[in-house]
Subunit: 303 residues, 2 copies
């Protein structure tokens, strides 16, 4: 069995700031992503033929200074649609979702950040752009946790265990609305069974490198759903999960250590177990290091 | 009124790694602290006259390679007692506590860290050594928080508001035993009113620069005490606090923004309010930045 620190490092497994082979993706001089050289070459070939507000300057991917968010979004969409249609990067673009994510850049008018553009969810990894999600742990007063098993037909992590409810944040959605909708769609939880019991409890941040080598800075908004009893049931909604079970905490820990959970879900569960006093400085030898790894500074613009 | 981000930055107000005027304090080649040049000069003068396992090599403060933890502790004690007796640094040494802190260095035998030596609490700031503490928030089901006011005769932060219970971790104490004892000593809480309701809930870490300019990397173990009612009362024990009041959360937030809390206590309360869903991504504009600042990577050895 792996240690919990090993488990955390399967997700927190990268530091793109230290990889000098990566090129910067910048907006108004502020770095927002990490672009592998072979991706930059493909973009260069595209830009040689197509007019675009996307430009490459001294190996940095960026935008024409006069371009606004709408123009950036339009031309990034054209670029990645061309990549998809010409089969440049089947991983990740064969996983096309038709779902736009907000990409954050430096702030304007005194704000700390602003939406620089929006981009198809499946394309974010090509550019090492930060993605944002919502993850929820539903649990009972006796400590048991609702754990879904991902459908065996899912493209990513088929058959792995998952957080009770989780999803990416679509452009324009506040995190709370995002998670309330995911509760309905993924787990069949009606809004009236969510709003009275849900609490936002923090964030986790990490750098994940996918099996395909794509760099994914990620920030997850974390929620607890303290259900009063098992009278409120979670059940497969949209085909993402094949089943939901109520598992006790020792079972959840065993499954994590055995590598049966989707990698980033283990970070959310470990954070949950730490906040609820199950994992402590006294019973977990790597406690201080794990807490730190759950909150890796991304040093990239965030909302 | 200050923003909560301003409040956080009053405590998370330093990055000694970026201050090139500071000299390294190393154990077996691993940096454990930050020594101002004027302190290093004083140590140099002392070492010219006194035999010691403490050595200065190429502007780095360190130990003779054959010295063990007991020898390092003994000679560091002699050094700081001489500094105290010769009035080299009245701030901080006039605050001498006769209390030893563990100072962590690199691990031995495969461990991630080990106790390199122990040192008088009041002397840690001279060397920018990481200190470890325990901070607890006692609260009621209606959300009110027990808030003590520090005695007006205290040397540090007189008259400021504080966390319900807090203290430093003396060498040899597990964090949980430390906080249970502080509950008794500072707030008159009997053990049987603590153990059933206490939970460890995480860590916060920050770099604090004192008003005297001393560098303090700090790691605080965080606890919640969910009291069932106000039948269990907190009351001044050892003279650290002059009074304890039950304050509602809007009042606590107002006092924090008005600068009435001891600086590091605001970080603990903000972490509490975030974990309990009072401060959210929707109601706090600097949410993502604040969460990050509560978990600054120290990049120094910790337990």
């Amino acid at each position: 069995m792996a240690s919990l620190l090993d488990v955390v490092r399967q997700c927190q497994n990268d530091n793109p700031w230290e990889d000098k082979s990566l090129r910067a993706f910048c907006v108004d001089g502020v770095q927002i992503g990490f672009v592998p050289e072979h991706v930059l070459s493909v973009i260069e070939a595209y830009l040689a033929k197509e007019p675009s507000v996307v430009v490459i300057e001294k190996d940095v991917l960026t935008f024409r200074p006069d371009a606004d968010a709408a123009q950036r979004s339009r031309d990034m969409a054209r670029l990645v649609e061309w990549m998809r249609d010409t089969k440049k990067f089947p991983d990740p673009l064969d996983g096309w979702r038709n779902e736009r994510y907000n990409i954050y850049g430096p702030g304007t008018d005194g704000a700390r950040s602003s939406v620089a553009f929006t981009l198809e969810r499946a394309a974010c990894g090509l550019f090492g752009l930060t993605t944002f999600g919502v993850h929820l742990t539903a649990y009972l007063p006796d400590g048991r946790i609702w754990v879904p098993r991902r459908s065996r037909t899912k493209q990513t992590w088929p058959g792995y265990y998952d957080n009770s409810v989780a999803g990416g944040i679509t452009a324009g959605d506040p995190p709370m609305e995002s998670i309330v909708r995911e509760c309905q769609e993924e787990a069949g939880l009606q809004e009236e069974h969510v709003r009275p019991y849900i609490k936002q409890t923090g964030l986790i941040t990490y750098f994940y490198k996918t099996t395909g080598g794509w760099r994914q800075p990620e920030m997850q908004y974390i929620y607890d759903l303290a259900l009063p009893s098992d009278a409120i049931q979670l059940a497969p909604g949209d085909g993402e999960a094949e089943s939901f079970d109520l598992l006790d905490i020792p079972t959840v820990l065993d499954l994590m250590r055995a590598g049966k959970f989707k990698a980033n879900c283990t970070l959310v569960l470990i954070d949950f177990l730490m906040r609820h006093g199950w994992l402590t400085a006294e019973n977990e030898k790597d406690y201080t290091e794990i807490v730190s790894l759950l909150h890796t500074p991304l040093r990239l613009p965030t909302p």
